[in-house]
């Protein structure tokens, strides 16, 4: 032990300079390592100082209480979270009958739980498809009702979070198989199939989603005889499926094209026919490569569902806007948008986090 005493009492010259260690050292290495980083650090620090304290004062210090009335809220200089408290159930569930709102709550919980389970690779088995379909059926039973003593609620009364979820979940899960077929079709050597797929993809990708929704909701009824009405929700869903299928097809085509030719040749050499080769060799790898662009599409679809507001469906954004039109609670749009912004963020952020994990998990074999 005696031999080591001198390390503790090393001379000042031997110790590392204080400026390269500890928090100061970390800041020098990460925040002020070049002159432009130093400027950026100062600018961002200044921006944080400008934004965060007023935001904190607005959102917390000066905010009116959760049970405040609307006139009390108008007196307060800060946020009015009482608005969110008052309108929470309307924003989440829309015009669904008030006394029965446990049903959309439960239905939403079922969908979220199924999605969470589907995220786990242990459940990637054929039987899970049946479980998912069962969950969807349960969702339908809870939302529509009409059985087991639940009153019938037509889907024009659905709104808020369950509507946003069902539009994105059904939209994406129906569009996904279509998009695989479209991507394969676009790479096909058969000219007719290739031409059809290319025409479809380019046509749909050439128009904005808003115009498809308008077609579905404004033009289509004029072509139908008077009195014949296709359900509004169904029309919106079909528009979503058509749109997302084209976009996902392009993401998957990217994955297909990234596969080395040797993989195709190896499949041929094994004597596999086209569908066997695709199913067992090409698609599993191509889809793994396509995860980032696919998740990109998923996230944008989830947010695009808010466009249904233009065809008069109350998704999450629609219910927030409608809640703001209550004469007693006008003008609290900051609180309303912040509230639904947080909900959107939770969903989108978990999707993006999950995709990064999945990407790494599936690419263990050949990490780049």
């Amino acid at each position: 032990m005696a031999g080591h005493v001198d390390t503790a009492s090393s001379t000042a010259a031997e110790r590392p300079p204080a400026l390269s260690l500890g928090p100061i050292g970390w800041m020098r290495a990460n925040l002020f390592n070049t002159w432009y980083n130093a400027i950026l650090t100062v600018l961002i620090g200044w921006a944080i100082l400008m934004i965060v304290p007023p935001l904190f004062r607005w959102a917390i210090v000066n905010a009116a209480g959760f049970d405040a009335t609307s006139p009390q809220c108008r007196q307060a200089t800060g946020a009015c979270w009482a608005f969110v408290n008052e309108k929470m159930r309307f924003i989440l569930f829309g015009t669904f009958p008030y006394a029965e709102q446990w049903r959309p709550l439960l239905a939403t919980a079922i969908i979220v739980a199924t999605l969470a389970a589907a995220a786990n690779r242990r459940f990637w088995k054929p039987w899970f498809v049946a479980v998912s379909l069962g969950a969807l059926a349960l969702f339908g039973v809870l939302m529509w009702g009409g059985v087991l003593g639940m009153t019938y609620v037509e889907n024009s009364l659905w709104g808020g979070l369950p509507l946003t979820l069902i539009l994105s979940v059904i939209g994406l899960s129906v569009a996904f198989p279509f998009s695989i077929l479209l991507a394969l079709g676009r790479r096909s050597t058969m000219p007719a199939i290739k031409a059809i797929c290319v025409a479809y993809i380019e046509l749909i990708r050439g128009v904005p989603l808003v115009s498809l929704l308008f077609m579905a909701s404004v033009m289509l009824p004029l072509f139908l005889p008077t009195g014949v009405n296709i359900d509004k929700l169904l029309r919106a869903l079909v528009a979503f499926i058509l749109f997302e299928a084209a976009y996902m097809a392009e993401a998957i085509r990217g994955g297909l094209q990234a596969m080395p030719k040797g993989q195709y040749e190896a499949a041929d050499a094994l004597g596999l026919n086209y569908w066997q080769a695709m199913r067992k060799i090409i698609l599993p790898q191509a889809l793994a490569i396509s995860i980032p662009p696919l998740v990109n599409t998923f996230i944008s679809t989830f947010k695009d569902t808010s466009l249904v507001i233009i065809i008069g469906l109350y998704d999450l954004l629609g219910t927030a806007k409608a809640a703001l039109s209550d004469p007693a609670w006008r003008g609290f749009y900051r609180e309303a948008y912040l509230f639904i912004g947080v909900i959107y963020w939770c969903f989108c952020f978990s999707m993006s986090k999950y995709s990064r994990w999945l990407e790494q998990d599936l690419n263990r074999g050949h990490k780049r």
Binding site: S70, R74, E86, K87, R89, F90, F93, G94, T95, F96, P97, Y98, E154, S156, L157, F214, S217, V218, M219, P221, L222, L224, T226, G227, N229, K232, I309, I310, I311, G312, Y314, G318, K321, A322, A323, L324, S325, D326, P327, A328, R330, G331, Y333
Partner: protein, 340 residues
């Protein structure tokens, strides 16, 4: 399902017996399905908005309910379809909704080429200006060179341009798409003047302005915006019912009949009131509805004044005065045709 069809058939049969008038396709379909499909604004304070429990309220909404009461004696026999501004005409043309009660301005082209029939005006509106009191402006004629906050893509924007041009004045428009943001920009002082429909100005001042007394609405009204419910061409019997539902609420106010005292008026000796409330029969039969139609409307929805005050009047956050919407006997424009 079977019971539903039977009930619908029974209802249709009852009405076929009760209603003597020649009914058109729309009216038949409404009676068969047992409810009125009503297109409303997806959210306009005071006119159509869902409350915290998701129930529709508002002046436009109450007229949907009044029509349902006339047909089915039940204000709940109506289903609402929230419609955007672009969607509303295709929705009524295609039959997706039976009645469009969505703050729609009655114009010649809409009455003709769009294929609508307008019921009487339920709300007379017009475009106005609001300024900060400290500017000391007393008239819109003094607004030369002002900065004006206006919502984009509306007739408001066009009327504004017309008004300033015809008065040889210049202005700087601050054009914003979202109504909330237009208001926010005005109250933040980005512009001198806020322009939109006068009813909206009044309600914005009452419920959004930080200090309502700091703002004045100028007396000039520069456009006519008569808002009326509408049905599509092709079913006159249905059009008649909607039309007379509106007149019934106005006539009830003029005769002093409210939802509170309507039962007392059943004993009235006034023949006008007797005809309206169905004490002396004939009016309901002529319209093809129950003789008690107007009694039911006043009892369950209210007269025009009650509908107005409940949704947009002085006791609501919107604090709108009757103004042009007063009865003709009180200097307003609301005038019901004689019920006889």
């Amino acid at each position: 399902m079977k019971a539903g069809i039977l009930a619908a058939a029974a209802a249709a049969f009852t009405f076929a017996v009760a209603g003597g008038a020649q009914a058109g396709a729309t009216l038949d379909a409404i009676k068969a399905k047992g409810f009125v499909q009503c297109g409303v604004n997806a959210g306009l304070p005071g006119f159509a908005s869902p409350d915290s429990a998701g129930n529709w309220t508002g002046l436009d909404v109450d007229y949907c309910r009044a029509v349902a009461v006339a047909l089915f004696n039940d204000p709940q026999k109506v289903k609402f379809t929230p419609l955007s501004a672009q969607q509303r005409f295709p929705a009524i043309q295609s039959g997706e909704v039976d009645l469009l009660s969505r703050n729609t301005t009655w114009t010649l082209t809409r009455d003709t080429s769009v294929g609508l029939n307008f019921a009487p005006v339920t709300y007379y509106d017009g475009q106005g200006f609001m300024v900060a009191k400290k500017l000391g402006v007393k008239s819109a004629k003094e607004l030369n060179g002002a900065t004006v906050c206006v919502q984009s893509g509306t007739t408001t924007e066009l009327n504004l341009a017309d008004y300033f041009r015809s008065n040889n004045m210049s202005y700087n428009p601050v054009v914003i798409e979202n109504n909330d943001e237009v208001n926010a920009a005005f109250f933040a002082g980005r512009c001198d003047v806020l322009t939109t429909d006068a009813s909206q100005l009044a309600s914005t001042r009452a419920s959004v302005a930080p200090k309502p007394d700091d703002y004045v609405i100028l007396p000039e009204i520069i456009s006519k915006e008569p808002l009326a419910p509408a049905v599509r061409h092709g079913d006159d019997a249905w059009y008649d019912i909607v039309k007379w539902v509106v007149y019934a609420t106005i006539q009830a106010e003029e005769s002093g009949i409210t939802s509170k005292n309507v039962d007392e008026h059943l004993n009235s000796k006034n023949p006008e009131i007797q005809r309206l409330l169905g004490v002396s029969a004939g009016m309901g039969k002529a319209l093809g509805v129950d003789e008690k139609w107007a009694y039911n409307i006043v009892k369950k929805v209210g007269n025009y004044s009650e509908i107005f005050e409940r949704n947009v009047g002085m006791s609501t956050p919107l604090k709108l005065e009757r103004g042009l919407n007063g009865l003709w006997t009180k200097g307003g424009l609301q005038y019901a045709m004689p019920v006889r």
